[in-house]
Amino acid sequence: MYTRQLSKLIIYSLSVILSFNVYLDGDSTEDDSSGFFQQVVDNTKGELKASYFSNFDQDPRGDDKNFGHIDLKLNYKQDISDNVFLNVVGRFREDTANRTRETFGFVEDSDRPYLATIDELVFRYSGEKIEWSVGKQLFTWGVADTFRPTDQINPSDYTDLPTSEKLAVPAITLFHSHEKVDIQGVIIPAFTPTRLPGSDNRWGPDQSGLAAGFAPLFGGVTPNLDFSRREIPDKKLDTLQGGIRLTSSSLISGWDLGLTWYTGYDPIGVYRANIIPGVTPTVEMIQVFSEFQEFGASFSTTLKGAVVYGEGAFHITKDNLQEDSYFEYVLGFNYTNYDILSSVFEEIRFIVEYAGESVFDERTDNQTYFDTGQYLRPFQNSILWGIIFKHNIDTEFTFGGAYNINDGDALISPQLSHKLQNGMKIITGFDIFTGNDDSFFGRWDNNDRFSLTVEYLF
């Protein structure tokens, strides 16, 4: 099956390259086209990743123990004029578990990753103090190393939890640089939901407990659960999302300060239960997205050779759906030591964060709305860390993880990376989940795995 899918990927890639050549043949002289083609090649950088994951346990949903994934990104950058710049990232990917959709999409609102997509497409105009960016964009707000409460603009793709990544959103951005303060305003015309793993995915929801909870409504018969429907907010003027970020590195010497405000729809949302009676009753768990506002602040400074930082955000849910209003925060530091075990390691970098949460408007479970639980607010009283042991320019070992103090559950991810040659790197490691079944990490106790990735940059 894997060979078949790999062939598909190659066919897709070839068709893109061939169609490009047809365009060149049709529109240009040979010299012009070869010049243009050369320019495209010169301005394009690529990243090819092939990954293999081997889970230690069988998944009750039937997801394979072994999982392969191939991912090709092509990044084209071009100065269109003195002030206008184009950045495009095209992406092709395929896997052995049929997690991708065999269609092309621009807005990432499908429930599965697209086989071919434009990951990013940004036109940027840069004036002396003003900059406009239009297109499908990724943002990073906040200052923390691992968990950033103020970083709210992009939803995530959780179809493979340990390798989850941000999804770019269509946006218009204005950046204005003042003497002491920079202002960034973002408008997001179309909502993009977080991509949650499907019910056939080993990272997906465990339905048995939830289904059993509905049984009393059907005279003790356990209903089927259907998670396929989502109510994505309409693309209208009154559903525009947006935010503002103020940052300064010179208001107080030696401190980076930030203030953020964001209004939009929670990209994870909640489930609304819709009962469909019948011989075999079904409960549709429709994903709906609650509107929220968030006010955040961040700081970062240096202290005795370490970088100390913190950020926090008030998340205020507007609708009366099943979603609390809360304040989440993180405090942390990173520090690099060059003296410990210096005969083996050139440097050891320590990253330690404490993440906490305080609920100030709690909504209780009812028969209509349920929180999505799994991916929402994972770090309520948690320690997160990363220790990077750098042997030399080519080889490093990372010991990363997170521990939830309340439930005693944890994720531990040791990882070794080694550069084989310029541009080619091999990364291998483990993801180990521990804890009770009803805890955040413990629910994936069955998903401990070994991973091996070969990455080639060209």
């Binding site: 840069s126 200052v143 060059y338 440097e347 320019i393 541009g423």
Partner: protein, 262 residues
Amino acid sequence: MKKILLSLIISLSIWLPLSAADSPTGKEIMEIQKNQHKIKTEVTKYDMILVDKKGRERKRVISIYVKDVGNSLNKTMLKFSEPADIAGVGLLTWEQGEDKDDDQWLYLPAQRQVKRISSSGKKNQFMGTDLAFEDLRPENLQANNYKVLGEEKIGDDLCWKIEATPATAKEKKDSGYSKRIIWIRKDIYFSVKTEFYDKRGNLAKLGTNEDFENIEGNIWRSKKGTTESLKRKTKTIMATTSRDTKGSLEESFFSQNNLKKD
């Protein structure tokens, strides 16, 4: 007698300043070296060659943007453009002078985040090269003592031989060097060779500048700089491929937002 005495006083008063001018102090030489070669803005592109202990070479391409923002302080931005695995990595430094820590930010494209870094780690190796962060910043004249050890010829060029030692408690703690011996060419006030001694007093690194070019007036630059780590037996060669000293860069260019751009 009075006349003789007066003549002697006048002669001495003329001779003493001349004598001082003939034998400037270490700090005076370093001041001239730092100030004479100043350019308001400068953009230089280098091929950075890393040579490992087996003699294998790896090439990186790096651009360094510098602006003199007054008070002997610079803002500097450094960006890698090759090879692919470090393309886009950037380092922004706002010098703070005196004994204050510089503001420094690092941009790693994979993380898409500009991160403040601690400049107290200035003794640390920069991106796998033989250069420490402190080697990349301009000489901090307030934080070091300079002593002229004498004169020596390097090749055909007569040089002052100067010993630089950390002057403040902070510099002693933060710097990776117990001392540096610097050879400054007398004719152009430019350093041609530096020996870097580690905290134990052992010679750790050797830096050389060669292939000098005259930019304008008495402003000079070296087209090739080599730093050799004697213990690691590795070398970093910075070969200039282009230099622009005529352009202008606004101070606003040296921002975290620009650090992210290609």
